[in-house]
């Protein structure tokens, strides 16, 4: 099976000489189809830079990022915009809904940008609306929705074009624990049932426990990796995550 995302020796350095900062310092990993990968790390560990590189927002200093066999650093213009819109669905911490569009119009925005009339994905749209339980709020404006509702609308928007991979950037960061759990349940459901590939950056161990694999990053390098074992309970995976985080907090001297 070919990986959806393949990252080889990725480096991103800022500045020169003594003042050089190595935000990412030689990271390599792969994401297989249907995988739910979590990336965790402290602030400044390099996870934002990694996400920005994958989203083609910044160019890496060296190394390659291949999405479905396409080297993304070679993309430009329309191909780049299409990559951001079609190959990748993006779920943001602060929802990024456009406040003067209704829920439905927000969800169909990627279709309007990359698809066509904004109507042609009706079948998928209906299914998503049903699954994410947002049918009642489709005609509301974001100001009339709760945080959880906003994030579910945003999730539908990220999924509407059936992208090769969904990038989630702290999706539960602006939600209370109840709504965070509801969202993660839906996301992992989509991952399981539809086989969608998800890459999620998070601080939240609870949210991370829904993943099938977690990569911990520190000082621009992969520090550790956890894999959920077959049949492992979420609680047990959660405990293991906490242990790694405790080690991370203790500094790189305490190697596991």
């Amino acid at each position: 099976m070919n990986p959806v995302l393949k990252i080889e020796s990725l480096k991103k350095y800022y500045g020169k000489g003594e003042s050089q900062t190595k935000a990412i310092d030689g990271i390599s990993f792969q994401v297989m189809p249907g995988e739910f990968l979590g990336i965790m790390g402290a602030s400044g560990s390099g996870k934002s830079t990694l996400l920005n590189c994958i989203a083609a927002v910044i160019k890496p200093t060296s190394g390659t990022i291949e999405m479905n066999g396409k080297e993304i650093s070679r993309l430009s213009g329309k191909d780049l915009a299409d990559y951001r819109g079609k190959d990748m669905g993006y779920l943001f911490q602060n929802f990024e809904l456009i406040d003067n569009l209704t829920g439905k119009e927000n969800i169909l925005l990627p279709v309007s940008l990359h698809g066509g009339s904004g109507k042609e994905d009706d079948g998928r749209f209906e299914k998503l609306a049903e699954y994410l339980e947002i049918k009642d709020i489709l005609n509301k404006f974001p100001s009339q929705m709760s945080g959880g509702e906003k994030q579910r609308i945003a999730a539908a928007r990220a999924l509407i074009l059936d992208p090769g991979m969904i990038l989630c950037d702290e999706p539960t960061g602006a939600l209370d624990s109840k709504n965070a759990k509801a969202l993660m349940t839906k996301l992992s459901g989509i991952n399981r049932e539809q086989g969608s590939t998800i890459l999620m950056v998070t601080h939240d161990s609870n949210a991370a426990s829904f993943c099938s694999r977690i990569m911990f990053i520190q000082d621009g390098k992969i520090f550790h990796e956890l894999r959920k074992e077959d049949g492992e309970e979420r609680q047990s995976f959660y405990d293991r995550i906490l242990k790694v985080l405790a080690q991370l907090g203790g500094g790189s001297a305490n190697v596991l």
Partner: protein
């Protein structure tokens, strides 16, 4: 350090904001053009001619200056408000770094002063150049090039311009600083929160739209049918209906834009584009309506001004160059002989008498019954349903003036017009151009009404005539009868008034030489002991009307246009800045440059297009109403000639609008450029 910051900020803000600088320079030009009016060539010339009238015009300059101050204040206030809102984040950072608010305001004041001085340095020379061009063009257009050009530069006007401009800037600065001082740092640092969109009520919006349209139709009807001009109350009511109609129409437009937004379209970001336009209609409907009304006033002023300018040719084609009279103290022969004696007879291609008089009934002192015209008046009343025809001063009952037929025909033929065809037993109708009511008169005359003049039966026929019969103001006839010679001589019983009309040899003198010729001949005729008038005084008055009516209306039109467009531009750019987050989201969702610029451009087209479209529609009716109500019949006779001029005016209008939209599109693109990099926010 502080002064460096001030200088760097000033330079940066000029580079970044063409709209702001453009508004400042426009304000300076607006002031200077008004204040230097008295130095214009045409004004200098007028001063030598009709001092009373021209003094009236000059006394209006004060009022115009005050009005300009007010309008320019709106212009500067809006432009500065945008400038400050654009930089609110920067101000927040200064305060967070420990800058005192007083110091921040001082910094802004110094920056403001800097930009004002730069605007004055650019604006004053541009103003002088523009007034020079206006001065030269006006002189050329009205054909008084002989007076010689003088530079319109007026130090007093420049000083007053600078004073007015700086004063207005200072007042707007004080108000804006007050607003700025009230804001919390947190508000400055974050973009101002957007207006929260609430659920709309389509039925209510549709009702508002319908009500607005209905009120506008009522206003249009009242304007076009002429009822608006009956008295000040009906005029006020029409203006109120129009204003309220426009405001309601814009309030209800959400209904239409919502429908367009929901319409299936293959265009990229169709829904987003129209939701943005809808935002404008929801949150800025008042401003859009006011701008639409300002554009309407501008175009109506421009239409009226240009119509007047075109129709007032100071050398009318049909004109009498000289009229001499000694009606009350001399004899017929004396006039012609005297002219011959001056040796000026050769200057004239036509020199002949025109006789006028009242119908006297020998042995009857009751003059009021000399002319009985019941049938004419009855037919007139039937044609003109609106109100009683003869109560409106159009009556020719009783004791009318009569013009001798052969005198009239020889004069009009000499002027190049067709003679009137009147036979024995027939009468012609004459009305001066300012009293012409051809639509009624000609219909009545076509029915050949029977009348009685001094007991004799006549038939009135032909078409009503308006040719000038004397040079200027020796005699003004609202209505008169053109009577066959034999009847005229009998009815006047030797008590006629005699005028000697002279037409200068048209082939001998070109247009540009005419005024000098009048001046030269007048010197000769001044020494003769009888009354005369030359076309020169007539020309002065025409010129006065021309300047008063067209110059000022065109000036106001341009000022209104600039203000309306600046307000629209500033509103759009400010709201785009406030909603920048939406564009950032689009970029994150993979919208490319082209798509983002395209939606912004479409929004600008709609944001400007809606008020312009409503204004254009109203202008059609307002212009028609103006032509009906305000402009003299003299102007109406020139409507055909006006069409090309009006097309040029429309062209200029479109050009100004395109220019503004282009500036806004450029500013908007430059702003959007800064949002094009999607960055992850921590």
């Amino acid at each position: 350090m502080f002064s460096k910051l001030v200088i760097r900020n000033s330079i940066r803000s000029h580079k970044e904001n063409a709209l702001f600088m453009g508004s400042l320079i426009t304000s300076i030009i607006a002031f200077y053009v008004v204040l230097s009016l008295s130095s214009q060539d045409v004004m200098r010339y007028l001063k030598t001619m009709e001092s009373d009238a021209i003094n009236k015009l000059f006394s209006m300059i004060g009022v115009l200056y005050g009005f300009t101050l007010f309008i320019v204040f709106a212009l500067i206030f809006f432009a500065s408000k945008y400038q400050i809102e654009r930089r609110s984040h920067e101000f927040g950072v200064y305060i967070m770094m420990g800058m005192k608010r007083t110091k921040l305001l001082l910094m802004l004041l110094l920056e403001d002063l800097g930009s004002s001085l730069v605007a004055l340095l650019i604006g004053l020379p541009v103003s002088v150049l523009i007034t020079e061009v206006i001065s030269l063009l006006t002189v050329k257009f009205v054909g008084i090039g002989f007076i010689g050009h003088q530079i319109t530069w007026s130090p007093k006007a420049a000083l007053l311009t600078a004073a007015g401009f700086l004063g207005v800037k200072l007042v707007s600065f004080i108000i804006l600083s007050f607003i700025l001082a009230q804001k919390e740092v947190g508000t400055l640092l974050t973009d101002a929160p957007d207006n929260v969109r609430k659920k709309g009520y389509p039925i209510l919006q549709a009702a508002l739209l319908l009500a607005g349209a209905l009120l506008l139709v009522c206003a249009y009807r009242s304007g076009v049918s002429g009822t608006a001009w009956e008295n000040i109350r009906t005029l006020g009511r029409t203006v109120m209906l129009g204003t309220l109609g426009t405001v309601l129409l814009f309030r209800g437009l959400r209904f239409v834009i919502d429908l367009i937004a929901k319409k299936t379209s293959s265009g990229k970001l169709h829904v987003f584009t129209f939701r943005q336009v809808e935002d404008g209609v929801i949150f800025k409907s008042g401003t859009m309506a006011i701008c639409s009304i300002l554009i309407l006033i501008a175009s109506a002023c421009l239409a009226a001004g240009v119509a007047t300018f075109v129709s007032y040719d100071i050398y009318e084609k049909e004109r009498v160059d000289y009229t001499f009279t000694n009606t009350f103290n001399g004899k017929e022969d004396d006039l012609l002989e005297t002219i011959r004696a001056t040796g000026c007879e050769d200057e004239f291609s036509y020199l002949s008498y025109l006789r006028l008089g009242h119908p006297y009934i020998v042995g009857n002192e009751n003059f009021d019954s000399a002319f009985e015209s019941e049938e004419f008046m009855k037919l007139s009343d039937e044609v003109d349903h609106s109100s009683q025809f003869h109560y409106r001063g159009n009556s020719i009952d009783g004791f009318p003036f009569m013009i001798r037929l052969s005198d009239f025909n020889s004069l009009v033929t000499a002027m190049g017009a067709e003679p009137i065809d009147i036979k024995e037993g027939e009468l012609g109708l004459y009305r001066s151009i300012d009293c012409a009511i051809d639509d009624v008169d000609n219909k009545v005359l076509a029915q050949r009404p029977h009348v009685t003049l001094v007991g004799k039966e006549f038939v009135m026929t032909g078409k009503a005539r308006h040719d000038p019969i004397v040079t200027d103001s020796f005699i003004s006839l609202s209505a008169a009868l053109i009577v066959p010679d034999d009847d005229f001589d009998r009815f006047t019983a030797g008590k006629e008034e005699i005028y000697l009309n002279g037409l200068l040899d048209r082939e001998k003198y070109s247009r540009s030489e005419l005024t000098q010729t009048y001046m030269r001949l007048n010197e000769t005729f001044d020494e003769i002991e009888f009354d005369y008038e030359s076309y020169l005084s007539n020309m002065g008055r025409q010129l006065f009307y021309l300047v008063a009516a067209s110059y000022i209306t065109i000036y106001l039109a341009l000022i209104f246009l600039v203000v309306a467009n600046t307000i629209l531009a500033v509103q759009f750019l400010m709201s785009q800045k406030r909603t920048s987050r939406r564009y950032k989201t689009l970029v994150k969702l993979g919208a490319d440059h082209k798509t983002i610029y395209k939606t912004s451009k479409r929004q600008i087209n709609w944001y400007f297009g809606l008020p312009i479209a409503v204004a254009a529609m109203s202008t059609v009716f307002a212009t028609k109403a103006l032509f009906n109500g305000l402009l003299s019949s003299r102007t109406k006779t020139h409507i055909d000639e006006m069409i090309p001029v009006i097309l040029v005016v429309v062209g200029v209008f479109v050009l100004i609008e395109c220019l503004y939209m282009h500036i806004v599109k450029r500013s908007s693109s430059r702003f959007l450029e800064t949002l094009m990099t999607p960055e992850r926010e921590e």
